[in-house]
């Protein structure tokens, strides 16, 4: 039986918009295929984990206050996370998790939170708190080799700039910056995005991309995932695409 080990960081604090649902979805899709999915949690005050033993490291989004709380702790994890990433662990990052992996995050009051600097992008929040990017969003991504229209919900003040390899192009909504063309950040073992919803709810292809990556990352042979019945998920997405794109 294949096995995936995930480290869910700061689950108790960065769980503002149902982002923990992504973990439930990955676990569900693994269990349907007899893939063992172990999800460990790490938060402030816990013993430092050995990051490279994990196939995936997951960080969700939170409110500004929680984000400030965890940022100094996250800095302590920098070495471990960087090593895991270089060794091929998958980084799955939502909203705040996405921002904090860049160079820095400057909040609405001008305070700068240092990021881990794993990637070159940086994020600046507009001085007015009212100018948030909020709403449904549709992103076209080709990470799986085929175009997939990913539907989610964005809710962020921060404007992320300096992304060279985005997750996808925006068909509806804002993306990295207000009214921008690109959304998120992507490498073969990194998906960083503003999408809540949670992100994986209506987008089973993205879940499977990550599961497939994780179970195959150490082996020479390629294990193909068995197909699941995704009718509900696809109907759910179809309804939203019809509503958002056929205006």
């Amino acid at each position: 039986m294949s096995k995936i080990k995930i480290l869910h960081m700061y689950a108790d604090m960065l769980d503002l918009y149902g982002d923990s649902g992504n973990m439930e979805i990955l676990k569900y899709r693994c269990s349907k295929r007899n893939i063992e999915c172990i999800i460990d949690k790490y938060s402030i005050g816990d013993d430092m984990p050995y990051f490279p033993e994990y196939d995936m490291i997951y960080i969700g989004g939170g409110a500004d206050l929680e984000q400030q709380h965890i940022s100094s702790d996250l800095v302590k994890c920098r070495g471990g996370i960087k090593k895991a990433y270089k060794n091929g662990s998958f980084l799955f990052l939502i909203c705040g998790g996405y921002q904090l992996m860049g160079k820095y995050y400057r909040d609405a009051d001008g305070n700068e939170i240092k990021g881990l600097g794993l990637f070159d992008y940086f994020t600046v929040a507009p001085s007015s708190r009212k100018k948030r990017c909020i709403g449904n969003i549709v992103v076209n991504t080709e990470i799986t080799g085929n175009p997939v229209k990913v539907v989610g919900f964005e809710n962020h003040g921060g404007q992320t700039q300096g992304v060279k390899t985005p997750f996808g192009s925006v068909l509806y909504g804002n993306g990295n910056c207000s009214k921008s063309d690109a959304e998120g950040y992507f490498e073969k073992n990194v998906i960083a995005t503003y999408l809540h919803g949670p992100m994986l709810a209506k987008n089973p292809e993205i879940s499977d991309y990550m599961i497939s990556y994780c179970i195959n990352r150490r082996s020479d042979t390629h294990i193909k995932l068995t197909k699941l019945n995704d009718k509900l998920e696809k109907d759910c997405r179809r309804v939203m695409l019809e509503r958002l794109l056929n205006k």
Binding site: D12, G18, A201, L232
Partner: protein, 447 residues
């Protein structure tokens, strides 16, 4: 200028009534634009104002407080329909004022939206503010929790009236420390541990940290969500003298004791106990006769989709509003605590008033389902809730998606057994209508 605005407002109400339109909010919106956004400043109110705010329970508590005074023979003005923004309150006062803007009553009892407390009561003098709880609710509309609490906190810093606070919610209890000069007018209500309280929280929640020194808060017990007995070991936040405490809580009867009186409310949920304790606190504060307080608390029930019962043919059906995970988790608990098989209809909308973001449904813990034999989903986001329930491990072949409400109700009624219906904010009234249509036509409207 003020008189002109009032005249205009009254004319708008008349016109709306002529066309049989609801004047609950529109007159206020028009005056809001004409009064430089200070539409509540045009009235002259001499009587005390009592405001009720918080995420859950505002409507119930506001209505009960109004009854305390009405049954004491006082004239009360209240926004019963829950038009609780500045524009709604303006529309209410327009209907009740004379041509000079004088509002004549003994008390104004106003349900007030959390984000509008500073707006409204910078324009009218507030005597008492009751704050029930703060949960994540419609985050895309209200902005983040912390931003909202900060707004109310800065209002409380300059507020010298009575503050009645839920002492078991760190988000509301912290308001009691906003204005140290006002210490003697701060009253906390709380509740002792009840049977289903837990040592850990299993629901996504707020309030992990002490707002004063950032230490993690320690809980002796959680009643539900983040409501419970908490303390900050470092600075002592949470150590206060309660004004009134609900004790001997037994939800099976249901019964509880507060201020040396035993009360038997009609609704058997822990959050109703908190709401009624808030009502008892206001009763005590205003020296309402004990028998009147008891009368109000023991007779209060609701017919607006809050644990409301219907018969679908011979099938007993209970509808409950759930506009956030806390409300939904509570309904699931009530459902589970009931014996036997049952079926669930979940109606989920994503209209503006609901919050466009439905990701909160992933904070509902569906894995606790016990003997739920079938699920029907409906609403503008019928598929989202279906996917969510499926991914909790529930057998998808037992889920039926019917976006159309009448079809959904007919589908629910098709089989025998006990039924539960959960509907979110804008879904609750259409769902009531659909349930009524079905029970009146005996299910013939859809065959």
């Amino acid at each position: 200028m003020k008189k002109l605005l009032i005249l205009l407002g009254k004319i708008i109400i008349k016109v709306l009534h002529l066309f049989h339109r609801n004047a609950g909010n529109l007159p206020g919106i028009i005056l809001w634009h004409l009064s430089k956004q200070r539409c509540c400043s045009i009235f002259k109110v001499d009587c005390p104002i009592i405001a009720v705010t918080g995420t859950n329970g505002k409507t119930s508590v506001t209505n009960c407080i109004a009854q305390l005074f009405e049954k004491s023979g006082k004239k009360v003005i209240i926004n019963r329909e829950g038009n609780n923004l500045d524009t709604g309150i303006c529309s209410l006062l327009l209907r009740h004022c004379d041509m000079s803007g004088n509002v004549k009553a003994d008390y104004l009892i106003l349900e007030t939206d959390e984000s509008h407390v500073p707006v409204v009561y910078s324009q009218m003098r507030l005597e008492t503010l009751v704050v029930l709880n703060f949960f994540r609710d419609q985050l895309d509309r209200n902005g983040e929790m912390e931003t909202l609490i900060k707004k109310i906190n800065s209002f409380c810093r300059a507020f010298d009236g009575n503050l009645v606070l839920n002492g078991d919610d760190p988000n509301t209890a912290r308001l009691g420390l906003a204005n140290p000069k006002n210490e003697r007018k701060i009253r906390y209500f709380n509740a002792e541990r009840y049977k289903f309280a837990t040592d850990k929280t299993f629901e996504a929640s707020e309030g992990h940290f002490c707002p004063f020194c950032s230490e993690p808060l320690e809980y002796e017990y959680y009643q539900y969500s983040h409501i419970g007995k908490f303390i900050c070991k470092k600075c002592g936040f949470g150590d206060y003298e309660p004004y009134i405490t609900a004790s001997n809580i037994d939800l099976e009867k249901p019964v509880f004791t507060a201020n040396r009186h035993e009360y038997s409310p009609k609704l058997n949920s822990i959050y109703n106990i908190y709401n009624m304790t808030a009502v008892a606190a206001v009763g005590k504060l205003y020296r309402i006769k004990p028998e009147i307080i008891e009368d109000v608390i023991s007779n209060y029930t609701v017919n607006n989709g809050r644990m409301e019962n219907f018969m679908l043919g011979d099938r007993k059906t209970t509808l409950n509003l759930a506009k956030n995970p806390v409300g939904a988790n509570m309904t699931l608990r009530v459902m589970n605590e009931m014996n036997g098989d049952k079926e669930l209809l979940f109606v989920l909308n994503d209209n503006v008033a609901d919050g466009l973001d439905v990701s909160w449904i992933w904070d509902i813990n569906f894995s606790i389902f016990e003997r739920v034999t079938r699920v029907v989903t409906s609403g503008t986001r019928a598929y989202d809730i279906a996917v969510r329930i499926k991914c909790s491990g529930y057998d998808p072949s037992k889920i039926t998606v019917c976006p159309d409400l009448d079809e959904a109700v007919a589908e629910l009624a098709r089989t025998e057994g006990r039924k539960f219906v959960i509907a979110n904010y804008t879904a609750v009234q259409p769902t009531r209508q659909a349930l009524k249509r079905y029970s009146e036509n005996g299910g013939k409207n859809n065959e």
